[in-house]
Amino acid sequence: MDKIDKILLETVADLHKVPAGAFNIRKNGESVLRNSNKDIEIVPKKNGKGIDIFIKKGVKNKSVHIPVIITMGGFSDLVYNDFYISEDCDITIIAGCGIHNNTCKDSQHDGIHKFHVGKNSIVRYIEKHFGAGEGEGKKILNPITKVFMKENSQMFFDSLQIGGVSSTIRKTFAKLDKNCILNIKENILTSDDQYAKTYFKVQLLGENSKCEVVSHSVAKGNSVQEFISDMIGNNKSFGHVECDGILLDNARIVSIPKIDALSKEASLIHEAAIGKIANDQLVKLMTLGLSQEEAEKTIINGFLYN
């Protein structure tokens, strides 16, 4: 591993050394380090296009790291990762993709992740996306996440794009059975001429299923973001979608909500607010000794990273 690999792995997966638990590190389209253990088995797909991750019944307080790094220009990677989480588990999955592209050719990673969450299981899924490099070649990330939740399961999905990604189209699909809870927190930062589109489709199929989607986005420069959500209440259920955007410079954020209560017992809420940084927030921080630039940075960092 060279210095760039280490920086990318630290940035997207907080990895400073080889992780303790199960892991799979993919670099430029190939698995370079992999480890299974008695609780978690990582099996490469026969076609070489990804991995299957099997988490055994009752495994608790364990983690899986599956970061992807791309350090070549003009490279396109498509990978399918399927997670099979058995019943009664409590597991943390850390994914994420970092692209370092110093060339004039585009680099792209499309990660398609499927989560089969067993009954009574709890999954924390953390995904960070990051782009770096001085070249004119774009850093493109198009993740697709599909979540299938069995009775009484819970998933907490934190998705963070911390900058440098030229273009992203992020799609998330989820189906929730009875008593399931899905919490999605998405934070996206775009700048320059970057583009980010996110699409969520959540089907609240089971009785008492609950889903909350909270999106915080900051758009700077000439960047454009689109947020599209489609929350469907098929049963007695609760859904809440919140899209908050901060605009700077000439940026644009578009929010398109759709909530559809197919059951009369479904309670669905959509909230969206897009605008520049509130002046009273800036004024308050300036009365505490921050310059306008420092105040803006403090507000944006709090909004995106807390």
């Binding site: 915080h216 908050d244 509130a278 009273d280 927030q281 004024v283 308050k284 921080l285 300036m286 009365t287 505490l288 000794g289 921050l290 310059s291 306008q292 403090t298 507000i299 960092n301 709090g302 909004f303 995106l304 990273y305 807390n306």
Partner: protein, 234 residues
């Protein structure tokens, strides 16, 4: 010493110029508590905001220790040692109580440091430092955190805009003790509350953007109506 010299402020409302402040000449001496009172709309909050640099006066100047600070930004005035507690505390998304206290104190406070500040406003640090300053906190909690951020500044001039508004279970007595304990500073409080007027060294009564009356507390307080401290008796 803080001085205002012929301060005037007008705002345009419905294409008509409205006079908010007119020729305000005040001096605030070190180590004293000043309470500004007066009916709603008399210009009290506007005066504090002009001193802080949040609003810019139409005419006149503000002097601090002999230096004209009229053209300084909010940030520059803050660095000089002027602080301001808002009547309506500002809420944020993702900024925690500890973040704001660290910013205000210009150092990374430990738990004991935060506890020292928050306990003065009746809050237990352990329960609050990791709370986000958002609308999940009650109005009273937000108000006390607002006061705490000003205490953390350890400023030379502390201005409080209706500090008692929204203070819930916490008693007035604690609030007045807090002001009395603020040494080595000029404290300017906008308030209608008699208990707060009682701790003043000097009271300033405003009406329609002008100073109606100012003087030592013992001279001014008997002239104010018991039912409404912003008005004169009779």
């Amino acid at each position: 010493m803080l001085k205002t010299n012929d301060l005037c402020y007008s705002a345009i409302e419905n294409d008509v110029e409205k006079r908010i402040l007119h020729n305000i000449n005040l001096s605030f001496a070190d180590n004293k508590i000043y309470v500004i009172t007066g009916q709603n709309g008399s210009g009290k909050s506007t005066l504090l905001k002009i001193i802080m640099g949040i609003i810019h006066q139409s005419q006149g100047d503000v002097f601090y220790d002999g230096k004209n600070i009229s053209n300084l930004s909010i940030y520059e005035r803050s660095k000089l040692g002027i602080s301001f507690a808002f009547q309506q505390p500002v809420t944020f998304k993702g900024i925690k109580v500890k973040d704001l206290l660290n910013i205000a104190s210009e150092e990374k406070l430990n738990l004991a440091g935060m506890c020292e500040i928050l306990s003065k406003v009746g809050l237990c640090a352990k329960n609050y430092i990791d709370r986000e300053i958002n609308d999940k906190l009650s109005g009273g909690e937000l108000k006390r955190i607002e006061l705490a951020t000003v205490l953390a500044r350890k400023a030379k001039i502390n201005m409080f805009d209706e500090p008692e508004a929204g203070i819930d279970l916490w008693s007035f007595e604690n609030l007045t003790t807090l002001f009395k304990d603020m040494d080595n500073s000029i404290n300017i409080i906008v308030s209608h509350q008699r208990k707060i007027l009682e701790i003043a060294d000097e009271i300033i009564v405003m009406k329609d953007g002008e100073i109606l009356l100012k003087g030592e507390k013992d001279d001014v307080l008997p002239m104010l109506s018991n039912s409404s401290c912003g008005r004169l008796r009779g």
